[in-house]
């Protein structure tokens, strides 16, 4: 059942410009996803910045993602956009046509009453009120929480007939983000952890691989590693 639901997710290449969810529909999906999410110490030390339909801004976001890819290729191979083998990453195209984009950043998260009492009474420091800690040393823990809430939102969206896609390729340098996104670019802004798009898919990434014959040539071209690479069952005591 959940496999039927989450198994439906396909990475979007282009969203449909004619079929756009309303703000109310997006909010409902987010509320449901959030209600189903867990977080260490109930801190939910992340924030969803929800960007609605705006083609100009979406193109800027795409440029931030593609720009990062260009930087990485240059650092790794010395290639540039002028190089013969340069091509845009079509896995990022969903950002251009997405009606809704979620930029998920860390946030300063005060403790709830339980943890405030607990930390105060034991003389422990609540680190999630510390901007520096959140922006540098807590990104991994927040990343797990973000992954879980993103998947809950994915389920809520898919159940309502919408598509979502993810992106984690973008500039790490806040100065390269536009000033119109101050929650990132300002001095106390946070680098995003994940970018997520939502809308109605018109063309999917796998279809492109079908069109150019890649999947026919090699059905395992872009598939997950073998189960045994990821999982190790430990049999019996070592002692």
């Amino acid at each position: 059942m959940i496999e039927d639901s989450l198994g439906k997710r396909k990475h979007v290449m282009h969203y449909d410009a004619q079929i756009i969810p309303t703000k109310e529909e997006v909010e409902e999906i987010l509320r449901i996803g959030y209600s189903l999410a867990t977080s260490k110490q109930k801190a939910y030390a992340y924030k969803f910045h929800v960007l609605g339909p705006n083609k100009e801004r979406s193109k800027k976001l795409y440029n931030i993602a593609e720009g990062r890819k260009i930087d990485v290729d240059f650092e790794a191979y010395g290639t540039t956009t002028e190089s013969e083998n340069y091509s845009e990453n079509c896995g990022l195209f969903h950002i251009i046509s997405a009606p809704y984009t979620f930029l998920i950043t860390p946030r300063i998260a005060p403790p709830n009453p339980h943890f405030k009492y607990w930390y105060d009474s034991t003389g422990s420091k609540w680190q999630l009120a510390d901007w520096e800690f959140i922006n540098t040393r807590n990104r991994e823990t927040t990343g797990i929480d973000v992954g879980m809430v993103a998947k809950a939102i994915t389920g809520a969206a898919l159940d309502r007939g919408w598509d979502v896609s993810y992106n984690s390729c973008f500039y790490n340098d806040k100065k390269k983000w536009p000033k119109s996104l101050p929650f990132i670019s300002s001095e106390r802004g946070f680098r995003p952890i994940l970018m997520m798009t939502l809308g109605k898919g018109k063309k999917y990434f796998y279809e492109r691989l079908q069109e150019d014959g890649t999947i026919i040539r090699d059905p395992k071209y872009n598939t997950a590693p073998l189960f045994e690479e990821i999982f190790e069952f430990i049999d019996g005591d070592t002692k």
Partner: protein, 251 residues
């Protein structure tokens, strides 16, 4: 059952695991295998590894339990279970030992076909220059660890859905000594555990641990250490922030 109804059933089990009814290795294997089919990963590389300790691995599960104890008290822990604690809670046994314990750790990936071809297209096959997930010198760095954490979170959420469909409980633990990669020294800086054990006590773990997941059936008893998430009349209410603190709509 809708996805809301399914995930709403989940409760963090802390002291109410069923010791009589144990999920089989075949069931856990099947759930993990099916999760891999519905969980996404950037470039399909899955930069994490899962060590599954089951009912036969009692020694290892004892060790993990003592690693996940940064403090002697607290709702997650209480691992020493002092006579005073037991008397205070009027119980003879605190059932906090799940039959299955999964330890997620960072993993250096192998290049898949796409990654290999990308490397060949740009630099004679040196794909590790481009993809940190497969680069021995960089896969432990912070950016890749965060990516691994996001994908681990997505994987766990999918696994939780499958567990709940099978009436299994699933709990998460992030209270353990962290490992942080120090690139200049080419070694992990390993936090020590002041009251319990450290990850070095478990030789299977060689890369940074990401999260510990417990799976089992819930016993038909009250969970003495259960979280109070919605009853303001009881002490220690662990309520969520309002959604308006988490979601900001921008024009």
């Amino acid at each position: 059952m809708s996805i809301e109804e399914l995930f709403s059933k989940r409760r963090q089990i802390r002291a109410a695991w069923d010791y009589e009814k144990i999920p089989s290795k075949e069931l856990i294997y099947s759930l993990l295998s099916r999760t891999l089919n519905i969980s996404p990963s950037k470039q399909n590389l899955y930069p994490f590894k899962i060590h599954a300790f089951g009912p036969d691995d009692e020694n290892e599960r004892r060790i993990v339990e003592q690693i996940c104890c940064l403090y002697t008290s607290g709702s997650v822990n209480n691992w020493e279970e002092s006579p005073e604690f037991i008397a205070q809670n009027r119980v003879s046994k605190v059932q906090k030992d799940a039959p299955w314990v999964l330890v997620f750790e960072l993993r250096k990936c192998k290049a898949n076909t796409f990654v290999k071809e990308y490397g060949e297209m740009h630099d004679g096959g040196n794909a590790q220059n481009r993809f940190t997930q497969i680069d021995e010198n960089r896969f432990r760095e912070g950016a890749n660890k965060t990516l691994s954490a996001i994908e681990t979170g997505m994987f766990i959420k999918c696994l939780a859905g499958l567990c709940l469909e099978n009436n299994l409980a699933i709990s998460y633990i992030k209270s353990f000594p962290e490992w942080t990669w120090k690139g200049q020294r080419s070694e992990y800086s390993k936090n020590r555990n002041k009251v319990g054990l450290s990850w070095d006590s478990l030789p299977q773990i060689t890369e940074a641990p990401l999260i510990v997941v417990q799976i089992g059936y819930k016993a038909a008893i009250d969970d003495l250490l259960a979280t109070n998430v919605n009853d303001p009349s009881r002490p220690f209410l662990e309520d969520k922030p309002s959604i308006d603190e988490i979601v900001q709509f921008n024009k």
